[in-house]
């Protein structure tokens, strides 16, 4: 073994034996015990345990897994391999797509407007703590109710259609964006707000002159991200609540006509739209930031 001795440039204590920690069997320990390490371990084991518990207790109703998987594989081949429209036309499908995009757009715009004021009420660096807590609990409640349930509840009051879909989607959208916007506002330099306060600016002047300019790009990024989510949600709501759009076409193709090829064609339209929207939002994000 090579000689590892060298004289340290500054005097140091070489007595390391008392700092060594040893196991019961006399081996030198290397790992540190930390709360976070054991918490991670505990979380992982707990999740695996719960998962195993789930797999053991689920009611599989005597399903033949291999048969079902093979069937699904064949269906997937038909779905993705031979897309074809049988029951609807391409213009019809595209119209439905525009409808879904519009539902997503409307709920994003509504959500953004509501969320902006909500965020002003609950961002730590500008809000009053009592109001912030109220808004935060309200948002937590709104977010905890699945989007589809909001839509179904509003369907009773507003009837089946775009109004119920948009309002239902807006709830979740606003809840999500309040949290995101508030974080964007909290990230800004606290000195700026302090300086403006010192110069005697009032609340709305601070909002318009400091908060908006410095956090608008981050807010825009969050908004576009939410738009992508809203598009997918609008699709899901169309399928599960019958709220129209291309989601409803998916539902009809699959659960009504049992036509895998049509389902495949519509899926491709949706996937193309998702990718296009993602590209568009990355581009706009790059421009805004």
């Amino acid at each position: 073994m090579r000689d590892l001795s060298f004289t340290a440039p500054t005097p140091v204590s070489l007595d390391f034996n008392k700092c060594m920690r040893k196991t019961k069997s006399g081996k030198i320990k290397t790992a540190v015990k930390s709360k976070s390490r054991s918490a991670i371990r505990f979380t992982i084991f707990a999740l695996l345990g719960l998962a195993a518990c789930g797999f053991l207790t689920f009611d599989y109703k005597d399903i033949e897994l291999s048969k079902a998987l093979a069937g699904t594989w064949n269906n997937a081949k038909a779905l993705f391999g031979q897309p074809r429209l049988n029951h609807s036309s391409l213009p019809g499908a595209l119209n439905a797509l525009y409808m879904t995009i519009s539902l997503g757009t409307l709920s994003t715009i509504f959500g953004a407007v509501v969320a902006f004021f909500g965020a002003l009420l609950c961002a730590k660096n500008i809000a009053n703590p009592v109001a912030a807590n109220i808004v935060k609990s309200l948002v937590a409640f709104i977010r905890a109710v699945p989007t589809i349930l909001w839509v179904l509840i509003f369907t009773i009051a507003a009837g089946l259609g775009s109004v119920a879909a948009v309002i239902g989607l807006t709830f979740h959208s606003a809840g999500y964006l309040v949290k995101a916007y508030a974080e964007s506002i909290e990230e800004m330099d606290s000195g700026t707000i302090e300086a403006l306060k010192a110069s005697g600016a009032n609340f709305w002047q601070i909002v318009l002159q400091a908060i908006l300019p410095s956090s608008i790009s981050r807010m825009a990024a969050w908004t576009f991200l939410r738009f992508e989510i809203n598009f997918i949600n609008a699709l899901a709501v169309g399928a599960a609540a019958g709220a129209g759009g291309i989601g409803f076409d998916l539902y009809m193709a699959g659960n009504h006509y049992f036509d895998l090829r049509e389902l495949g064609f519509i899926t491709y339209i949706v996937v193309a739209a998702v990718i296009l929207l993602e590209m568009l939002s990355t581009k706009i994000k790059a421009k805004v930031a």
């Binding site: 991670i40 509840i153 009773i156 599960a240 989601g247 389902l263």
Partner: protein
């Protein structure tokens, strides 16, 4: 000498910009953006056949209706055991889906990340596969699986699994590239091999973030499993749909309350775990 440096400095500062022109430019951008959003709004409202007035009207109407009818009644309370059983099943399903998807996603993300220096073709393929699973909406998976699996818990399981897998691969790759790339470079430099680098570098440095993403996906999946449940007639979603269609709104509201309590409990719990592990 100093003068010369000052000259240099002055030369390098951009020419004086007119303050007023900056402000008017900002005003113009603001006006254009505002007008653009308004136009987008108008077009969307027309395409979606959205009536703004009835939209605003519906909100107070809906809340008035909820206050009157959407409250658990006696009949609903008698269904509580059944609801709780389904809720428990849904929670377990969300955990089982997320845990198994996370295990698969971790291996895939090791292929997809730049840090492990997997062959470019393999890493590309891994990323494309993940993006495929992410971009095909879980509604499609649910409808597709329904054909062969029927109304089975496994329909929900796989529908959620594919989408979760796709999302987690992307998040894991981003996390590993961000958190681990510096220490991985150092381990490469010591002559460690790939397996050593993964277990000694990538795992310890990115595990907290990875666990945090998994917790997030569990929350997300509990909410999403309601939707999948309605589509595939399984789990808590089916129960809600059943009461809803029977117009048994008392019981339906109890289902919603139970879901809200579950989701908020899990959110609080994962926030607490996150605080300790980060």
């Amino acid at each position: 000498m100093l003068d010369k440096q000052m000259d240099n400095l002055i030369e390098k500062t951009p020419k004086k910009t007119n303050q007023i022109s900056v402000f008017s430019k900002r005003k113009r951008t603001f006006a254009i953006t505002f007008f653009g959003i308004f136009a987008l709004f108008a077009v969307s409202a027309i395409v979606a056949n959205y009536n703004i007035l009835s939209g605003f009207e519906s909100i107070p109407k809906a809340f008035a209706w909820m206050a009157g009818n959407f409250i658990p009644d006696k009949k609903a309370l008698s269904r509580l055991p059944n609801i709780l059983a389904k809720l428990f099943e849904t929670a377990l399903l969300a955990v089982a889906v997320t845990a198994s998807a996370a295990i698969c996603a971790f291996f895939f993300s090791l292929l997809g990340t730049k840090t492990t220096k997997a062959p470019p073709l393999v890493s590309r393929a891994a990323r494309i596969a993940a993006s495929f699973f992410r971009n095909v909406p879980n509604v499609v998976w649910a409808i597709l699986l329904l054909f062969s699996f029927g109304q089975n818990i496994l329909t929900g399981f796989f529908a959620l699994f594919f989408a979760t897998f796709g999302m987690l691969v992307r998040m894991f790759i981003e996390t590993i590239d961000e958190v681990s790339s510096s220490c991985v470079e150092a381990l490469h430099a010591t002559g460690a091999n790939s397996i050593q680098i993964i277990l000694q570098g990538i795992v310890p440095s990115s595990l907290p973030e990875i666990v945090s993403w998994v917790l997030y996906m569990i929350e997300y999946n509990i909410r999403d499993s309601t939707l999948i449940g309605i589509l595939t007639a399984t789990g808590i979603g089916y129960l809600f749909d059943l009461y809803y269609k029977r117009m048994d709104y008392g019981s339906a509201s109890l289902v919603v309350i139970c879901i809200v309590i579950l989701v908020i409990t899990i959110e609080l719990l994962s926030n607490k775990i996150r605080k300790v592990i980060m």
